[in-house]
Amino acid sequence: MTGDIVPEKPVRDAIEVRGVSKIFGAGEGRVAALDDVSVSIRENEFFTLLGPSGCGKTTLLRLIAGFDFPTSGQIMLHGEDIAPLPPFKRPVNTVFQNYALFPHMTVAQNIGFGLEMLGRPKAEIEARVAAMLKLVQMEKLAGRRTSQISGGQQQRVALARALAPAPKVLLLDEPLSALDFKLRKEMQIELKRLQHETGITFIFVTHDQEEALTMSDRIAVMSSGRILQVGGPRDIYDHPAERFVANFIGDTNFLPATVLSSAGGKARVKLASGIEIDAPLPAGFTPGSEVTVVVRPEHARLMREASTLNGTVENVVYFGTDTHFHVALDQGRGFVVRQQNARSGEAGVSAGDRVGIFVGDGAAQVLKD
């Protein structure tokens, strides 16, 4: 896809999920936690599974880790089917949603556990544990019980414990969701740094779209057991393929439109206001199709004079860094424009003013449905 920027990384699949379904229960209580999911995760990339609670993110991680088995489909690790491998034979480690630290062991013992189970020599374990403690800046607390450290520290220990055996792939199940805002921001940067330093493939699960956008090389957006779209953060944000993706990630304006002509993934569409614009569009649309286009609030510009869309300002909401203008379009829909606040203060537009909204070519995207 267009905005997919993954520089200097070898394009080899670390994990390949092929047509995987997972059904829990039967009859009345039947739940398809995963419904024919296919996705390839490249080596050394920071890959994020993004979706609302209950969409099957944890289930997919558990299948990769080996705690559960797919009802159908295959999971390949570096091209080999890992179905026959029990969890303790998979070179994959997990940072659990609740950390799952061993309460009867110290911080250092927790971190060394994996290496110990692998039967590494004592000296090597000690050296590695020391290195891990340093990596997550927990040297001082090595001898503490895990019940005697804070949530953020537990998070670091869980991370160090999973990284210590140098897995090929690290699975992280909403590792930051239990942390408060400031700590979460810190850990986001920390995680990014760790991924960069270790070069391990990270599969990161979150329901926080901002977290996904800031941290990932690529994102898979999930809903109800299916992957709707896979792409780089810009790609997902600027070119959402489906209404759910557009809605779930960021604020969006939806507009009805008609396709006039299409060629090479670009289309000329006519908005309800009669204005024509260029917009990228997925395959499978013929001229005359009724479609929905999405426009991000910050991709539109507020004008004093008549423009692509016209309406009346209903509400002006000040957010510090930017201001949101809620405009009632003449065709009867609402439309939000976001503008960065200039140093000079007042944007000079207030409720009740007539305004035009400029939507440039390429600022809109045609949705699949």
Partner: protein, 306 residues
């Protein structure tokens, strides 16, 4: 101001009085059921034996003396009371073995129950407790029906042709072990279950994830975390095993006595109440020592982990 203080003090006094009043049922029970009888036993162990049972109210250490020593009837030489000591040893040995075997059987059982769906666990627990509904004596006789030469086990083994002679289990230590295993198994399963049920199985997954094999998960994660249950179960099984009376009596025949039978003998046919009392106190001391060793260990361990 003084009145306020008076008021507070009197309220406190009242509070203390109320506390004692509320405690009184427990105190009565403790006194009449535990401390009182023990005290009587202690006193009896230092009295002379009566000719037809009972005691004569005169101080004597004969009872305690004969717990460990015996005087030859003819030449008055002193020697260790071999019979008592071998019974003591058998009691300790059989009780330790009972504890070990109930654990080996009870742990998988408790694990099985704890990993069932929540709804069916109650049914399994209920099944475990069913034997408690029947009198111990009757259960022991039922056990006899299973292990005697013409019993279920031997009949089956003979029929299958695995043996051509019935295996003699009745009236051996094995029979006692069998019986105690059966009787005390629920006492091991229930505390183990209580611990296992609280176990966070996500920790088990975490251990699998970190390359621990099934056995390593058991030894390094599950066992340490359910240790309180293991200890509680072991104490609950070991202590009553040590004083078991009905089981060795019925299944061990007359020869294979345990401490409980020896004590009973002194109060019955032996007509030596002081010795019986002294033996009881010895049993009590054994149990106390076992508990003390445990407490000491638990304490030093918690100190070390700080």
């Amino acid at each position: 101001m003084a009145s306020a203080r008076d008021f507070a003090e009197s309220a406190e006094r009242q509070d203390v009085r109320r506390r004692w009043a509320l405690l009184s049922p427990a105190l009565v029970i403790i006194f009449f059921a535990a401390v009182g009888p023990l005290f009587i036993m202690l006193v009896y162990s230092f009295l002379q034996k009566g000719d037809y049972g009972g005691v004569r109210w005169a101080f004597s250490t004969d009872g305690w003396f004969s717990v460990f020593f015996q005087r030859d009837i003819f030449d008055d030489t002193l020697s260790f009371a071999d019979a008592h000591i071998s019974i003591l040893w058998r009691s300790v040995r059989l009780s330790l073995m009972t504890t070990l075997f109930t654990f080996l059987l009870g742990f998988p059982t408790a694990y099985f129950i704890a990993t069932r769906p929540e709804k069916s666990r109650d049914i399994w627990l209920f099944l475990i407790t069913i034997p408690f509904w029947t009198n111990l004596l009757i259960r022991t006789f039922a056990m006899q029906e299973v292990i005697r030469n013409e019993g279920v086990i031997n009949t089956a083994l003979l029929w299958l042709g695995i043996v051509d002679q019935p295996i003699q289990i009745m009236y051996t230590d094995k029979a006692i072990l069998f019986g105690m295993l059966y009787v005390y198994l629920p006492l091991m399963v229930l505390p183990l279950y209580a611990s296992l049920e609280k176990l966070d199985f996500r920790l088990v997954e975490a251990a699998y994830d970190l390359y621990a094999t099934r056995f390593q998960v058991l030894r390094r994660v599950i066992m340490p975390l359910v240790k309180p249950g293991i200890i509680a179960g072991s104490i609950l099984v070991f202590i009553p095993s040590l004083g078991a009376y009905v089981t060795p009596r019925v299944l061990g025949g007359g020869k294979n006595l345990m401490l409980g039978n020896l004590i009973e003998l002194q109060f019955g046919q032996g007509r030596n109440w002081p010795l019986g009392a002294a033996l009881s106190m010895t049993l009590l001391a054994l149990v106390m020592v076992a508990l003390l060793i445990y407490a000491r260990q638990a304490q030093s361990r918690s100190l070390r982990h700080g």
